[in-house]
Each structure stands twice: as C-alpha cells, then as structure tokens.
Symmetry: C2
Subunit: 327 residues, 2 copies
C-alpha cells in the first residue's frame, strides 16, 4: 500500500517534468516566432516569414496549452494522493484484529514447539528406562509423564489449529480488503493516465492542424503573388511617359503665365522627398534630376511590360539601379 502512495507521488513528478518540458518547448517556439517576425521585410520572400511566424506562434500556444493541462492533471493527482493517505490510515485501523491474530499464532507456534519437544523428551526417557531394564515403578512413572505430555501436546495442537483458523479468517478478510484497495488504486491511476493520454492526443491533433495550415499557407502564396506583391510595394506606377517633344518657349516661366498641363501624380515609397504633384509633362520637366530620369524611365518600361506574363517587374528596375549603384 505504501507503494501505492509512492506510485501516486512518482506519477505526479513524472507529469510535472513533462509539463516543464512542454513549457520550455513552448517558450522556444515563441522565440522562433519572434525570429521569423524579424526576418527581412525586403525582397520577394518577405511575406513568407509571416507564415513561419504564425505557425511557430500557434505551435507555442499548443504546447503551452498542454503544459496547462498537465498542471491541472497534477492537481488531480495530488488530490487523489491525499484521499489515498486517508484510506490507508483508515484501513490500518481496521487491521488491528488481523495483527492480533498474527501475534496469537506466533505465540501459539512457540508453545506447540515446546510441547512437542517436551513430549518427545518424555518418550526418549521412557524408552531409555525400558531399555536399561529400570524398575517397574520408574517405568510406570515415566509412562505417566509421557502420557501427560502427549495430552498437553494434543491440547496445544487443538489450540494452535483453532488460533490458526482465526488467523486464516482474519487474514483472508484483510487480503480481500487489500486486493480491493489495490484495484481501486490501479483504476484511479489508469484514469489519471487516461487524462494524460487525452491531453497529449488533443495537443497532437492541434499541432497537426497547425502543420496543415502552414502547408496550405505556403501553397497558397504563389510565386506570381510574391512577385506581384513586391512590384506593387516597390513599383513606381504603370503609366508610360510620352516621348520628349520640342518644348516651345511660351513665357512659361512667368508666374501668372501660360497653362501647364499636369500629369498624373505618382510616388515611389522610400525614395526621398515626395513631390505632391510632380510636373511630369515630359522628361524635361523641372524635376530633371538624376532621380527624375529614373522615375520616368522605369515608368516607361513598366508600361511596356504591363501586359499578361510580363507585368509587375517595374520593381526590378529599381532593384537593378540600386544594385548597380552598390557595385
């Protein structure tokens, strides 16, 4: 029975260790998710990091949940352990009768032994006297003693068998009781293990869903999508600028002067100051800086390739230019 209490304690310790392992795993996964969220936001691959981050975050949650379930289970085990101690204490009290029966049998066994030895000693004495041809009186006396010893031995046997019967009765009751306690204990332990098993299985199913989701997400983000997303984010627009034409002087510089046709506004994220309404009549506009040429030209090329199969790579033009200037 004390082994039953030990088993309960050991099971709680085992599950506590498992909970700690799951907690560590969960924390590591959170760290991994953070690592994914720190993945480069530049380049066409960037959106994939979000898929990794979400997956690792969800895995962290799954294992944290498992840790919580294990902790709940430990509480259940400890609660059972307390009940177990109470049951054992009560049982020990009920065993007093059996203990007494055991002690009585032990004592009676000693008496029986002595009695047998006494009887046999008397028999030896009697035999010796007979062999030596001792006087009839002495032989008769020895016979009497032997007879008495035999009677005493017979009484002892009777008592021993009676005490033995009581011992048998008590012992069988106790053994039955022990068997019941042990069965209840094992049933309870198996129930707790079932809880452990269910928790790990639930988590396993959840983890499977996270894996499936990850796989789906990766499949759903097509290569075309990634390139398009990148071009949309980094691109400069889709309109092709007109060719440069002769620009007649028409007092254009006078403040209240002639009408200036204003082109469509376009912006490039992350490229210095933004002109709210850039003058894009032609490549000869006021923004005739190095950048302006880049802008117009990349714009032009984008429009050339703004057709199925060839679109969306305006960004690469910028990529090329920055790459070229880095070499």
């Amino acid at each position: 029975m004390k082994h039953g209490q030990l088993a309960t304690k050991e099971l709680a310790e085992f599950i506590r260790e498992r909970a700690a392992i799951e907690e560590t795993y969960s924390k590591s996964m959170s760290k991994l998710a953070k690592m994914a969220s720190n993945g480069s936001t530049l380049g066409t691959f960037a959106p994939m990091w979000d898929v990794f981050r979400v997956s690792a975050d969800k895995l962290a949650l799954c294992h944290l949940e498992l840790m919580r379930k294990m902790n709940d289970l430990i509480r259940d085990i400890n609660k059972y352990g307390e009940e177990q101690v109470k049951i054992h204490r009560k049982t020990k009290e009920e065993m007093v009768g059996t203990v007494e029966a055991v002690q009585a049998l032990q004592a009676q066994n000693g008496h029986l032994q002595k009695s047998k030895e006494g009887y046999h000693a008397k028999c030896i004495e009697l035999e010796r006297l007979k062999k030596e041809g001792a006087p009839q009186k002495e032989v008769e006396k020895a016979e009497m003693k032997s007879k008495k010893a035999a009677e005493s031995f017979a009484l002892c046997i009777e008592k021993y068998n009676r005490v033995g019967g009581e011992f048998e009765q008590k012992m069988s009751e106790s053994a039955q009781k022990f068997q019941e306690i042990e069965e209840t204990h094992l049933r309870q332990m198996k129930q707790l293990i079932k809880g452990y098993s269910h928790s790990t299985e639930d988590t396993h199913v959840q983890v499977g869903q996270v894996h499936e989701e990850f796989k789906q997400n990766v499949e759903n983000i097509g290569i075309d999508n990634l390139i398009q997303k990148f071009a949309e984010q980094k691109g400069t627009g889709k309109d092709r600028p007109a060719l440069v034409g002769f620009e007649e002087y028409m007092t254009a510089l006078a403040p209240e002067g002639g009408k200036k046709s204003r082109g469509k506004a376009f912006r490039i994220p992350g490229l210095g100051k933004r002109d709210k309404e850039p003058d894009s009549t032609s490549r000869l506009s006021n923004r005739s800086s190095r950048h302006a040429a880049f802008l117009d030209w990349t714009l032009m090329i984008k429009s050339v390739f703004h057709k199925p199969g060839g679109r969306c790579f305006g960004a690469f033009v910028r990529g090329l230019l920055s790459w070229v200037s880095s070499s």
Copy 2:
C-alpha cells in the same frame, strides 16, 4: 537580389534554431524516460513505468530524427546559397550593357536640360530686345542665336530619345532577367520549405503512432494483470498446507530412523535462506521458526483462495505482514 541571398541565409538560421529546439526536446524526453525507468519497481503499479519509459524514449527518437532532418535541410539550403551567389555574380557581369545605357541616359538628360535652358534664355533675350525696340541688326542677331539654340535643342531631344530607346531595350531585358532569377529563387525556396514541412509532418505521424501505442499499452495492461503479476512475483505458492496433526514419537530423531514424508518444495523470493527441500510435513516440522509459521499460513490462505475471483492475493498477505510490522 541581395535580399534573395539574405532570405536564404535567414531560412537556414530559422531552421537551425528549429533543429536546436527539437534537439533540446529530444534530450528532455530521454531524461523523462530515465525518470520513468527509475520509477519504483515495487507495488502493483510498477509495470506501468515501463510503458511510460518506452513512450518517452520513442518520443525522444522522433524528435532526434526531426533534428537530423533539419540539419540535412540546412545543408541543402547552404548548398543552394552558394549556387545563388554564383548566379548573382554571373548576372552582374551580364548587366554591364544596362549600366552603360543608364549612364548614357543620365549624361544625355543633363545635356537636354542645359540645351533647353540655353534655348529659353535665347528666347527671353530676343523678346527683351523686341520689347525695348532694339536696332533691327541686334534683333536679327538674337533671332539667329535663338534659331541655332532651337536646332541644338531639337538635336538633343533626338539623341535623348535614341539613348532612351536603348535604355528601354536594355532595361526590359534586365528586368526580364531579374524576374526570371527571382522566380527561380522563390521556386527553390518553396521547395526547401516543402522539405521542412514534410519533415515536421513525418515526425508528427510518428509521434501520433507513439501516442496510440502508449494508449494501447495502457489499455492492454489490465488491473487484473497488474495484480496477478504482482502476486506471482511476490507470492509464496498456491498449495494449502494440511492442518497440524498429532505427531507420534517414532525414533524420528535417529539418523537412520523411520521414513519421513517429504512435502513439496516451495520458496519465497527475498525471504532469507532458502531450504532446498524444506520439511513441510506439518507445522511442527523442524523449521518451526517464526517464518515457517508465516510461510505455512500464507500458503494455506493462498490455497483457500486459489479459485476464480479470489486467487492471486497471497502477495497481499506478505504485504500485510510487512506493513503490520512496520507500524
């Protein structure tokens, strides 16, 4: 493109971190298995620890296998990273023409700007002279200059548009090339991620099998089994000893004396010295120690209960006795 190399590097780092997490988890599971193998070997629950140990050991192996697969994947990623660097280097060399076209356009843009300013300056000068009523000769001279500037401006525009056409051509080729490189890169990255996904899925399936096995093993070890196993291991046998009868003195102590009926041998594991052939004719045999009585009695009780439903608790008798003597 340099972001492509960064993405490859980051993916390898991410998976290295994941491999480390799996390694730690695997080691912890091995530790947990050891903990289970150190579970008490006494008591009816003892055989269950083996189920826990096997399960934790197998989980450790599953995650170790995942770590190995991750390490293989890192090697693949690094290999791809090296190829990527080579491809980028080669591409950079092929881009020389585009770089030249960009530079030519930049230079021509400057000329165009200057030419336009020169032409407009000449126009302003001509207008001023006309307004001030300057001599006809001066006006004609200015008109000539303005005309020349206009011609120069027109030539500049023509050249700029020609250079622009070359730029457009080169740029579109480069952009197409970049798009191809980027597509190949993303295809490769997705392939590597697929490998990652497959590995985690394989491990997930294995872990599921370990859980299922654990559940089955727990179910298969019935409570009856545990109790029977315990009784078989700790029990003293199944034969009931006869009641004690009167033992006639028949020169039993003489060495060459009367025949002694010899009972069946039985042993109790872990209970002191073992008599090879204990004299078990009756409870009054020579082994009339405290133990001998225990043995006989537990034996007797065992035989009483050696029937369906009540058998197998001989061990509890011993359990009771050791428990009683501990109190």
